[in-house]
């Protein structure tokens, strides 16, 4: 809960609702986007000189989000809610973050371990993906002794599914490995909880007082038609996209693997496109077949990001919309073609319920079939450990992530509900807080339900257009290097300047950080003098100055959360009924004027 820090009588009450810019609301971890935007905009234009500032910004981001460099490559949820969208294009915040991480990565390797004494209990984290890693870092910071149990031989979880042309390998490994080093967490590789003797009870016996389960969704979903499993999924040449991407990330697939081959990818999500674009880079002639239609604004629209679809199309990938797969046909045990009836609708009011027209069927031939229709959790493990409810769903409190069946177990991330990387990270943080409250005997729920309200974009005369994002031309990008060019320092500073800073001062305070002000001033209205002329209300760019009736007379007031203390209303008030409290400009002016006749 933010309290407005000010030294006037205009004190702000504890807000039940927190005002935030919409980008920070959309970010699952409510990162300080506005603040970092302002800090970036104030960097010197010489890279040498700017490094110090960049490192400071990086340190600040790292403190709350040790996985932030990865976000700079793969996230960008904030941009979906950016108020500037309708005014010229969302602020390219992801690229700004990537800019910081590009110059900060070296620092991460040198960052010292957390200076925290681990005096509290042992906690086990099952799963070394984003959720588990964030939880491990947060708990370590709080003084717990954390052990991560990872089933595979490397940390990172589903992040390894992301092709290297989007997320470079060294960024991922640097971030993940150093997180573990800095946090001081213990890691056990090739330790799959649920395998044989490694049960949750064994963990309890071994002294772990709480466990966070973040095993993710390692199992690819099988292809179904109606409610039946489609035949032919065991044919040679048929694979699951997810498995394929893991293999690629392990380096097991040689370049040119699909040269001369026709690859058909079933699926319409981002992972399907990752598979398709990877196959394309391995030389395959690739087609994507999905249930959804091309109109992203409709309920049945294809879920993949516009950027992915555009990139895929540029790389020569064909996309076939509104088709289901009724049958996988093989010949001699090898995949040959699929039969695709027209999908007339995907969702109805009850949810996912695709409808088909059996009279409109096409066939698509290929050498390789990649099924990428989703991933699922290891349900048998959950069932074995007694973590499901009677209906077969996960028995967990959505606010605290505490298991409803076993109070020392906490479950979060994709295993609970499949979502974005940062959503999983958020659940890692929630679990860490819950575990702390549980082990310290505090109330599990108090103060945790937060309500946010988005602030609108401030008014200004001229809005600026977004910069172009530069991609390597498609014919030159069929390799696994990054194809998106990041910002130069100058571009980053310019783009950060474009941010309209919609959010309230109390959630930003960048100006205090850069030493432009000593405190956040507030604006007070002298109601004995205010005539209700409405000029302040008209001029306020932030919708903070308002007019209302008080005892039958019009009076103006200031909404402390919207007010940026920009001073326009104070200047415009013809009665001088408004005053800045906590601002030192008047004294400075008097001082200098006194020196004029000295």
């Amino acid at each position: 809960m933010w309290k407005a820090v000010n030294s006037g009588s205009a004190a702000a009450e504890d807000a039940l609702k927190q005002y935030l810019p919409p980008c920070q609301m959309k970010c699952p971890i409510n990162e300080d986007i506005q603040r970092t935007n302002v800090l970036i905009s104030m960097l010197p234009l010489d890279l040498e000189e700017a490094l110090d500032g960049i490192v400071q910004i990086g340190d600040y981001l790292y403190e709350w989000n040790p996985l932030f460099p990865v976000c700079g490559y793969v996230c960008g949820l904030c941009e979906l809610e950016c108020n500037y969208q309708e005014k010229g294009g969302a602020i390219r915040r992801r690229l700004l973050k990537r800019f910081i991480s590009d110059h900060y990565l070296n620092r991460i390797r040198e960052k010292p371990e957390l200076d925290v004494e681990k005096t509290k209990e042992n906690v086990a984290i099952v799963g070394g993906g984003p959720a588990g890693l964030m939880c491990a870092y947060d708990l370590s910071r709080r003084g717990y002794r954390v052990t991560i149990f990872e089933a595979s031989d490397r940390l990172g979880g589903a992040l390894w599914l992301i092709p290297h042309y989007r997320l470079p390998e060294d960024v991922l490994t640097t971030v993940v490995n150093n997180l573990v080093r800095i946090s001081g967490a213990d890691v056990k590789m090739n330790a799959k909880i649920g395998d044989g003797k490694l049960t949750l009870d064994k963990l309890k016996k071994d002294g772990f007082r709480a466990v966070f389960i973040a095993k993710g969704t390692p199992l690819p979903r099988i292809l179904t038609y109606g409610r039946e499993k489609v035949e032919g999924q065991e044919l040679s040449g048929v694979m699951y996209g997810q498995t394929f991407l893991y293999e690629v990330s392990h380096g097991n697939i040689q370049p040119g693997y699909f040269r001369g081959k026709k690859v058909v990818v079933i699926g319409g999500g981002n992972v399907a496109f990752d598979v398709a674009r990877t196959a394309c880079r391995l030389g395959g002639e690739t087609t994507v077949v999905c249930l959804e239609c091309a109109d992203k604004s409709s309920r049945d629209g294809i879920p993949a990001d516009e950027d992915e679809i555009k990139g895929a199309w540029e790389e020569g990938i064909r996309i076939v919309y509104s088709r289901g797969v009724r049958k996988i046909v093989g010949q001699g045990g090898k995949f040959q073609k699929i039969e695709c009836p027209l999908c007339t609708s995907v969702f109805d009011d009850n949810g996912f319920n695709p409808q088909f027209d059996p009279t409109d069927v096409i066939t698509i031939e290929g050498d390789v079939l990649m099924i990428t229709v989703g991933q699922g959790p290891d349900r048998s493990f959950l069932h074995q450990e007694g973590l499901l409810n009677e209906k077969g769903g996960l028995a967990v409190d959505p606010l605290t992530l505490q298991s409803l069946n076993k109070d020392w177990i906490f479950i979060g991330g994709d295993i609970r509900r499949i979502g974005f990387m940062v959503e999983a990270m958020h659940e890692g943080l929630i679990a860490a807080e819950s575990i702390e409250r549980y082990l310290r005997g505090l109330d599990m729920k108090a103060g945790r339900k937060r309500q946010f309200e988005a602030q609108d974009i401030p008014y200004r005369r001229v809005y600026k257009h977004e910069p172009e994002v530069v991609w390597i031309p498609p014919e030159k990008r069929l390799h696994f290097q990054l194809f998106e060019r990041g910002f130069s320092l100058k571009e980053a500073v310019e783009e950060a300047k474009r941010c309209a800073r919609c959010g309230p001062c109390v959630s930003c305070k960048a100006c205090l950080a850069i030493d432009i002000q000593d405190c956040l001033p507030t604006v007070e209205v002298n109601e004995d003098v205010c005539s209700g002329c409405g000029i302040c209300t008209s001029i306020c760019y932030y919708g903070a100055a308002g007019s209302r009736y008080k005892e039958g007379r019009m009076i103006s007031s200031t909404d402390v959360f919207r007010c940026k203390a920009c001073g326009m209303c104070v200047v415009a008030c013809p009665s001088q009924a408004r005053k800045m409290v906590g601002d030192t400009m008047e004294q400075k002016i008097d001082q200098v004027y006194a020196g004029l006749t000295a």
Binding site: V529, S531, C533, S538, M554, M568, V571, P574, S575, Q576
Partner: protein, 344 residues
Amino acid sequence: MSEVTTEWVVHGWSKGKQMSKKPKVAIYWLGACGGCDEAIVDLNEVLLKVASAVDIVLWPLAMDYKYDSIENAPNGSIALSIIHGNIRNSEHEEMARLLRKKSQIVMAFGACACFGGTAGLANFCGAESIMKWVFHEAPTVENPQHQMPQAESPWDGQTLTLPELLDHVYTLDQVVHVDYYLPGCPPPPDLISHAIFAVLEGKLPPRGAVLAPQKALCDTCPRNNTKPPKMDITEINKIHEIEADSHTCFLMQGVVCMGPATRSGCGETCLRINTPCRGCFGPVGGVEDSGAKFLSALTSLVKATTDEQVRSIMEKFQDPAGCLYRFTQPTSILGKRVKARETV
């Protein structure tokens, strides 16, 4: 406002006791047009009440008097001096100082005494150029020998004197200490009677107060609620250049109305006859320069995208200084000057 009793105990009058002496009141004009006197006469029947309650010792409009009687009166013997008009020449200065010496309470009555009034605009020209214009340069003047009025002229073995034009128009309080202010050009009858009876009954606010409401005109203006939430001025018109709507805010019609920066209390007499406010009640409490504040307010409402557009809108605002400082030039930030004061 705390109540202040005047020393010479006027309660006697309000409590109905027979006073041996009625309080003495002087009403005097300095650099004035006579409008303020007219306003006092406009009290009508109330004037009779006032006249019977006080002893008017000086009122050039209505009575015969000689300066000697004032000079010979003991200091502080006049309970209340209502002084209107600004200080433009040496006689004004002399009389202002004289009445200050002889009075307990000095009230600056009307815009000229309070802020300098319209004649204050002369400060933009300067005394010398005014004299040259009036007596020589004006097109209708025939004065081939450049004869100018002199402060002293010999005539028939004697010296005739004329008051000398000061080089600057001063407000009353820039020359003597003023106890109360009653703004307006002229002040309206209801404010006048309130003020006078407040003095007589001893129910006055602390000295230095303005005897009019605290807030700007928009507070009481019937057109205030016709303003849209976003007020954009895209052109400036003079009142005669448009057919002004009689219910909508003038600023919204592009007509400069000083209301937002002017103290209320006049009863919006100008607005009721579809004329914009010209600012004769001066600034609201706490504001030094209502013209400067109005400039800030007005420009903040001007809506334009380019510098050129702003310039072309502003160009239609003829004589901004004259409009913004019509009544208040001598109290403006750049126009203010103080003549050495005698302490009371």
